[in-house]
Amino acid sequence: MGFGKVLSKLLKKKAPVPTGKPQATSKSRQSERVSLEAIKNNLTDIADVKYKQIKTINGFVTLIYYESLVDTQVLHQMVVGPILRQQETVIHAAEKVGENDLNQLLDLITTGYTIIHLHQNSTFYALSTFSAENRAIQQTETESTVIGPQDAFTESLNTNLSLIKRRIANPELKNKSYELGSETKTKVAVLYLNNLVNRENLDRLCKKLEEIDYDGFMDISMLKQLIEDHPYSPFPQYNMTVRTDMAVQYLLDGRIVVVMGNSQSVIIAPTSFFELFVSTEDYYNRWMTATLLRSLRFFGFFITIILTPTYISALTYHPELLPFELLMNLQESRDRVPFPPVIEVLFIELVIEILREAGSRMPTKIGQTIGIVGGIVIGTAAVEAGLISNMLTVLVAISALLSFLPSNFLMSNTSRFIRYIFILSAGLFGLYGQMLALAWLFIHLLNLTSLGNPYLTPVIPRKWTDLLDSVVRLPLGLLQYKKGISRAKTKRIRPLDEE
């Protein structure tokens, strides 16, 4: 407790104190009356702000907008054309801006509104004309599945909302809106099904969102880290996805989905450890196939973190563990390697990390080449050169592949990090060290919470019905109950934890 607390206090002190409220410059703005001059004064040095003066039958009208956010064609269709023909229709459609709301008016301009300034009575109206280019809805490359809907979220908040709302046609689907980031003013929507969601979960999340104090967000993953219960843990405590069906699936379970503007992924909260291994495809496959794949992913996580460490323990401390023939082979290939097994494993694991990192930074075509070159050349050549044993190449390859099995990318990153802890502890104390590391891992997972709900369900189930849809996924007809972690309102079976 102590050290971390001090550290977090220090961090808090050091960080500048950004408040949601406008700062010094804006304070002076507030007192000003809305006038064309005031606007111009505030929007100096912005090249793409346009002041377009139009002469209509009722007098002069000035349109103020950002050229980069408003498409000229849209402007003509929606504003210029109607104003010239019949001013009233536009005025009715638009919102009137209060006399002293310069601040709000400026915000409106920066979010893509067009301000209509009527000279004859110096009033200001705002009309939404945001029409910047959006990416089309495309397939996901990071979480692709064979079966199931292929449309993924995009970077546009409205598109994302529409993708969800077209799937749940129900007035119970609510979305609360927030504006986060003191500088970026990013829009965030919190979606939930009102008839299912657990109030406590919702209140906790909303409170966390309201308390956020941060300059700006490039992606929702930043927001996720800020609202996690245990920011120091290596484990992601909320699920993140770009798959529309996954978001909907969890909404139906009574979870909360957070969508953010300019960010492709959405957050699902709360989430259990196990759900990071679940893919929506599990529900589209037959249940036996799904069970097989799920157990592969789940146990794969544990295998990937103990496979190479076990190699170290066996070779360094417990050679008697290995079957005789295997031992002979190992001795033979280890004979040429000058390092102790720990160094050998650390070396090759780091090489794999380097390959992966290099591959992901390159353009796709070069990336592939790097992969092949790295895989074949480094793999075989390192064995030939006597840097590593050939058995280890196999193990490292398997564990590298296994680390990509979890459906959640953050989880697969975590598994790679955790593996180093295991490697070091195996190098230090063999199997005993490994078991202690495993104990640490479990107790850490047991202590984690996601929105205050225990993270390690259903490994230790909150409800017995959770087990029907855990490593084993039973036929869909049996999966009628909401998960323990979502504490949903309907079909409620008391969580085991609460009683």
Partner: protein, 366 residues
């Protein structure tokens, strides 16, 4: 928050440990002794021979053999460490060989007990008795085999076709040595030119090896010890008149003991249940006829009854009981059971053998 602290401490601890404490030896730096041979030198000395497998890349020879004369096992190992370029470790021990003289001298238990008490040695280490010299056997050349270590290791693994041998592990050895109701048995191997053969079974009387039985008797002993799977047996029936030869593959066997529980007038009825298929038959009977078939069954039953009774007679004559007949009396006896009681019961024992033989099929032969 506290997570960070723990992670930080763990990591720093591990890193510190890795840098400072890490001087472990890896597999290629240790000589994992697979075979240990013990030969008789004189009353206080023995000759230790170690066989260590080595990888093909480092040497032509598939294994290294070291030997030394010493008074105790540990002392010998320390001696040998001076010869070996790698650290000698007994963690991977698989077979311990004793020569016959050593076994008969009665010091075998001392050595096995030393190994049994060593926690780094596994439980499935087999104990065998070698006819002449263990050293000779270990350092011998076996051109058709891939080294003595792999060879012996494979030879002494229990498999259905060699279940006539008791496959004594060090646990079994200590168990039978220290259990008053039964005596120790071990397999008996001989080096014949460039092969090694399990030629029989040794039986101990307390600490000393006293008797040697052949494979057929070994199989009967195993049968009486209630071993489930047995190798095929060739049976010679009706030796005097028209001789018949049957090869039976035993599918399942079971033995039941019924004792009267009286240690003063001990009597034991042994019921053997055998199930088997006939592999080969040489003789005059037509096995497709049920009368001949059941006649053959009866003949085999009689044969086994006779053989078993003869075996028990021989054991009684030698006063050794590797099967543990007296266990059936111990379980009804209140008080501490001793070797004397075993001897007494075994010498007074009257045995009735009965037998149920089922031939399941006659194979593909008529």
């Amino acid at each position: 928050m506290k997570n960070l602290l723990i992670i930080f401490l763990l990591l720093s601890g591990l890193l510190f440990g890795c840098s400072g404490d890490l001087s472990p030896s890896s597999v290629e730096d240790v000589a994992l002794v697979s075979l240990l041979g013990v030969d008789y030198v004189d009353e206080n000395k023995m000759k230790l021979t170690l066989a260590v497998p080595q990888s093909a890349s480092s040497s032509e020879e598939p294994n290294q053999v070291y030997s030394t004369v010493s008074g105790m096992v540990k002392e010998g190992i320390v001696d040998l460490s001076a010869q070996a370029e790698r650290e000698i470790k007994l963690n991977g021990l698989r077979v311990v060989l004793f020569n016959e003289e050593f076994a008969r001298s009665g010091r075998m238990r001392e050595v096995v007990e030393h190994l049994y008490r060593n926690p780094v040695i596994g439980g499935n280490v087999y104990v065998v008795v070698v006819k002449e010299s263990a050293e000779e056997l270990l350092s011998g050349k076996y051109p058709s085999k891939s080294g003595i270590v792999t060879y012996l290791n494979a030879l002494l693994k229990p498999k259905p076709h060699n279940m006539f041998s008791p496959f004594t592990t060090i646990h079994d050895f200590m168990y039978t040595q220290t259990n008053p109701v039964l005596e120790t048995m071990t397999p008996y191997i001989e080096k014949k030119e460039d092969v090694v053969e399990i030629t029989g079974v040794t039986v101990f009387k307390e600490k000393k090896m006293t008797d040697l039985y052949d494979r057929k008797q070994g199989q009967l002993i195993q049968l009486l010890k209630d071993v489930e799977r047995m190798p095929a047996a060739t049976i010679q029936l009706n030796e005097d008149r028209h001789s018949e030869q049957v090869v039976i593959d035993f599918v399942k066997n079971k033995v039941d003991y019924k004792s009267n529980g009286n240690i003063h007038q001990p009597s034991l009825s042994i019921i053997l249940y055998l199930k088997g298929t006939i592999y080969e038959y040489k003789g005059t009977k037509n096995l497709s006829r049920s009368r001949d078939f059941s006649e053959l069954e009866n003949e085999i039953q009689d044969y086994f009854k006779k053989e078993v009774s003869a075996l028990i007679e021989e054991l009684k004559q030698n006063e050794t009981d590797p099967i543990g007949f007296s266990e059936n009396f111990r379980m009804h006896y209140k008080g501490e059971w001793t070797q004397e009681l075993t001897d007494q019961v075994f010498s007074d024992l009257s045995v009735t053998v009965s037998m149920e033989m089922h031939i399941l099929a006659t194979g593909t032969l008529r």
